[in-house]
């Protein structure tokens, strides 16, 4: 029996304020109650590794979040600094002897900060433009995608680069522009039947970023699913998962998007996700509805259906490809897959099942790459320092780096370019798809050049 007072193990209603947290939905006491300040989390934290400063460590952040609740600190810019320097990578929860949900506390604290200290300057623009103006609106995102596609294909991109017009942007955005994946046509169908006999029906989250920049990964996901007996439905009223909003402290918008998705996927038995960040968010929708019992219940049901593509394939079985893709490859654990969802071995097993694939171990494979949603846009210096450490761990002699999250893919592509490396960045499911296609006579090398 626990000696702890029982109310600490329960969620508390979030309507009331707590210490110096004055708004709805404050950080919850039960989440920090188990922390005994042992420090086992320190070395797991990329920002502590970079700074050595304890307010930028999980233990320090939890301590400060608790201090506000105890009335020792107020919600101001000095408090915002350590709370927003967190990558929300969840590595600390893996390291913690008692599984403290640091990520959850950080997100709740950010919710309070965003209401107390409105954003201004560059970060404000990014937040308003992308988080409110673009990501939640599928059409606008697609239009933006179309615009980008036009930008890339019309020769405008070349012109902008050549005329140095690009230099009006901050340096880190210039870098991002240069690795921006080529925008491809999004998947538009709403139902794709299984090849051969239908064994299961699943729904697919096509995502916002995925849909515009990585629609080929969505296509690969569909190919792999249909190949293995799944009818794939793509509910048209689905929307952005809200992870970027919740990470940024915009929990209201997070709730709005969560509700739309819960409704959109109401009929589905399984919601397949190929972006780790989205999967992790959707498995945590319950957290957003502490004081909306009805929605909380629906969120709980919804969470059970959400599964990462690699885990789904692993758990339900898939045909092992017969064609070989001879390549040396290393695997990067997306934080929200490894630390967030505990999915580590499944993607590696899939890669190992592809004939010809030789896996090379990446030291600290589950260390954050610095992408962290829009962190690389809002905190470019730290993101870059974290990326540099990551790239130092990428083995020299591999041809590809595989992973399961679009944010990581962009960031790692930036790393490859910035540090003069040569690796191709691939999504785990793409490689499986290429192996299947090669079996049918298609040459994956063509796709590699895409």
């Amino acid at each position: 029996m626990s000696v702890k007072e029982s109310h600490l193990n329960e969620e508390t209603p979030c309507t009331s304020s707590l210490g110096n947290y004055l708004w709805r939905d404050p950080p919850q006491e039960y989440k920090w109650a188990d922390c005994v300040h042992c420090g086992m989390c320190l070395e797991s934290c990329p920002t502590y590794e970079q700074t050595g400063e304890e307010q930028h460590s999980p233990r320090g952040r939890v301590y400060l979040i608790k201090a506000v609740a105890e009335g020792k600190l107020s919600v101001d810019e000095d408090f915002a600094n350590p709370v927003f320097s967190c990558l929300d990578c969840r590595a600390c929860t893996t390291a913690c002897p008692v599984d403290i949900d640091v990520g959850g506390l950080i997100e709740e604290a950010r919710g309070q900060i965003r209401q107390a200290v409105p954003l201004n300057g560059w970060k404000g623009v990014v937040n308003k433009l992308f988080l409110h103006g673009v990501f939640p609106h599928h059409n606008r995102l697609r239009s933006l995608g179309g615009l980008l596609r036009f930008y890339q294909r019309s020769g405008l991109q070349k012109a902008v680069r050549k005329t140095k017009l690009i230099n009006i942007m901050p340096q880190h955005l210039v870098e991002l522009e240069s690795i921006m994946p080529e925008v491809k046509g999004a998947v538009r169908k709403t139902l794709i039947k299984a090849k051969g006999e239908t064994k299961q029906e699943v729904a697919l989250l096509t995502g916002c970023v995925m849909d515009v920049f990585f629609s080929d990964i969505n296509q690969s996901t569909i190919n792999v699913l249909t190949r293995n007996g799944n009818d794939v439905s793509i509910p048209s009223n689905q929307t952005c998962c809200g992870a970027l909003h919740v990470h940024a402290g915009d929990r209201e918008m997070g709730r709005k998007l969560a509700k739309q998705n819960i409704e959109a996927f109401e009929k589905a038995d399984k919601v397949i996700v190929n972006a780790a960040g989205c999967g992790c968010m959707m498995k945590e929708y319950t957290e957003l509805f502490r004081d909306e019992p009805e929605w909380k219940k629906r969120a709980e049901e919804f969470e059970k259906k959400v599964v990462d593509i690699s885990k789904y394939l692993h758990d339900t079985g898939y045909e092992k490809p017969k064609a070989a893709i001879p390549t040396r490859i290393t695997y990067h654990d997306a934080c929200h897959l490894a630390h967030g969802q505990g999915v580590r071995q499944e993607p590696r097993d899939i890669l190992l099942d592809i004939p010809g694939v030789e896996m090379v171990h990446m030291p600290n494979a589950d260390r954050c790459c610095g992408s962290a949603g829009i962190y690389n846009i809002t905190n470019p210096e730290m993101a870059d320092a974290v990326l540099k450490s990551k790239m130092e761990n990428v083995p020299e002699d591999v041809e590809m780096i595989s992973m399961g999250n679009p944010g990581c893919m962009m960031q790692m592509a930036l790393g490859v370019q910035k540090y003069g490396r040569s690796q191709k960045i691939v999504h785990t499911v793409q490689l499986l798809d290429w192996a299947y296609q090669k079996e049918e006579g298609d040459d994956y090398h063509v796709r590699l050049k895409d």
Binding site: S2, V3, K4, E5, L8, A33, D34, C35, V36, H37, C38, G39, M40, C41, L42, E43, T51, G52, E53, E54, Q55, S57, R59, G60, Y63, L64, A67, K72, L73, D76, D78, F79, N81, P82, S85, A95, C96, P97, V98, D99, I100, N379, E381, M382
Partner: protein, 482 residues
């Protein structure tokens, strides 16, 4: 990231920042300083004046000289995982954080030694050389994150110190910044048995009161050829204790011999690294032997036989490295795991002659009953180093005092049977008063006289390690005021 300009008129902050090269290397705002108001010992808290991050010995020397000249109290801090409060700025010190001095300077396998900066993390040393067949032996449970500088200050121990000795047995040389800013080197080149006083011995375990270590030469060991680990469950804690004694009496020197009692098992099983220990046993033993591969099986058989003679319920050797790893992760996160069954804990660190184990455990159970606080026991049973963990809730009025008293009584029980009050965690601020259990006034004076030589103005980490009557009253007052 830190703000880019100094936003204060405090001349000390401005001057200290100038020494370490600007605003990115100093903290002085309350929100930042709050993260430094305690270490792994959370009962006592105090804000530092500032936290500075030097990059090299010269900067440390300049910082120390500045503090010394200006009469500012100061102290060194590593990862802040210490369990006796050695890095808590009780006098509003300037904290000199050593964590950015974290280079592995050199590895000399031929002479089996390495030179590290103090902020280098303990486990990283072993990880950097294990592929070449070597390791660094002292392995405190916090080795994933604690720094070797901190290990030197506290003379840290660990599970495997039973066979290989604690930190002091592995330190070959130190570069030290004295409290006046002078830089000295002792144990130069790692040559053993230098003439003169054993300064390495005095510095190691001095809890940061004699100087600030800026470079450390450590001994490296060759990986043992073989290794095997046994897990044994006992229905009665006396039987477990008897098995510990019998294993040692049989002439076996295990690399590690660890024990956890019922309450500790409840915690580790409720935490993040459970291994499925039965909940109705009174003691689990974790026994590891290592050495030349040929002798290991025989030793394991002997251990299995001894355990069976002591009425063991179940005993078995680890199937593979993965299982061994799980058993150790479960044990090594034991302190933090207390969070799963209690909001706060206070860990004690007594040492007793092994033969007194059942007697002292009985006494601790009695203390627990009388105080009304649960006490879990995790210990390095092989060398008699007990860690009673007093579980309490700091938010309940009076519980901190009760916990402190229970902890103190546990140490008294250890001292009474001919033991002592700390094996590896240090005295810090936590056990200052308890020093009187083991030292007479004149013996304490002899030690503070040594401190006077190194640290005459007592600006460096004052108020730690030794009882000072006035100060104790103050601290009690502060605790009462909470």
């Amino acid at each position: 990231m830190s703000v880019l300009k100094i936003d204060t008129t405090d001349k000390h902050i401005i001057n200290l920042a100038a020494i370490v090269g600007g605003p990115g290397s100093i903290l002085y705002k309350t929100a930042d300083l709050l993260a430094y108001d305690c270490d792994g010992f959370t009962i006592h808290k105090h804000l530092p004046k500032a936290v500075v991050f030097p990059k090299n010995t010269e900067e440390v020397s300049k910082l120390v000289k500045y503090c010394s000249d200006q009469g500012l109290p100061f102290l060194a801090r590593g990862a802040g995982t210490g369990l006796s409060g050695g890095a808590i700025p009780v006098n509003g010190e300037v904290i000199i954080s050593m964590v950015r001095m974290k280079k592995l300077i050199s590895v000399d396998l031929e002479n089996r030694r390495a030179v590290v900066e103090p902020g280098f993390v303990n486990l990283k040393l072993t990880n950097s050389i294990s592929d070449r067949g070597y390791y660094y032996a002292p392995d405190p449970s916090s080795q994933y994150c604690c720094t070797i500088g901190g290990n030197v200050a506290e003379n840290a121990g660990g599970a495997h110190c039973l066979k290989y000795g604690v930190t002091t047995n592995h330190i070959l040389g130190l570069e030290v910044v004295l409290p006046n800013g002078e830089i000295i080197e002792i144990g130069r080149n790692g040559v053993l048995d230098e003439p003169g006083y054993d300064l390495l011995g005095i510095l190691t375990g001095s809890e940061g009161t004699l100087g600030i270590v800026t470079k450390i030469t450590v001994r490296l060991l060759k990986n043992p050829e073989g290794k095997q680990t046994v897990l044994a469950y006992f229905d009665k804690v006396e039987d477990g204790s008897q098995a510990v004694s019998d294993i040692i009496s049989a002439g076996i020197v295990p690399a590690a011999l660890e024990m956890m009692d019922k309450t500790a098992i409840e915690a580790v099983e409720a935490a993040a690294f459970p291994v499925g220990h039965p909940m109705d046993i009174e003691a689990v033993l974790l026994i590891e032997v290592d050495g030349i591969a040929a002798g290991i099986e025989e030793q394991i058989n002997q251990i299995l036989a001894v355990c069976k003679k002591s009425n063991v319920r179940e005993v078995r050797a680890a199937m593979d490295e993965a299982e061994r790893g799980r058993w150790w992760a479960n044990r090594k996160t034991g302190f933090g795991a207390m969070g799963a069954i209690s909001p706060d804990y206070l860990v004690q660190d007594g040492v007793i002659p092994r033969s007194k184990l059942p007697e002292v455990l009985k006494k601790i159970a009695q203390i627990s009953e009388e105080s009304g606080l649960r006490i879990a026991n995790i210990f390095h049973a092989g060398d008699g180093n007990l860690h009673p963990l007093v579980l309490f809730d700091a938010r309940k009025p009076g519980e901190i005092e009760k916990a402190l008293e229970a902890g103190s009584l546990c140490l008294k029980a250890c001292a009474d049977v001919g033991g002592t009050i700390t094996g590896e965690h240090g005295v810090g601020i936590e056990k200052r008063e308890e020093m009187r259990f083991v030292f007479k006034d004149v013996e304490i004076l002899a030690q503070t006289n040594i401190r006077e030589v190194f640290n005459p103005n007592n600006l460096l980490n004052a108020g730690k390690l030794f009882p000072t009557p006035g100060r104790c009253v103050e601290i009690k007052k502060e605790i009462n005021a909470k």
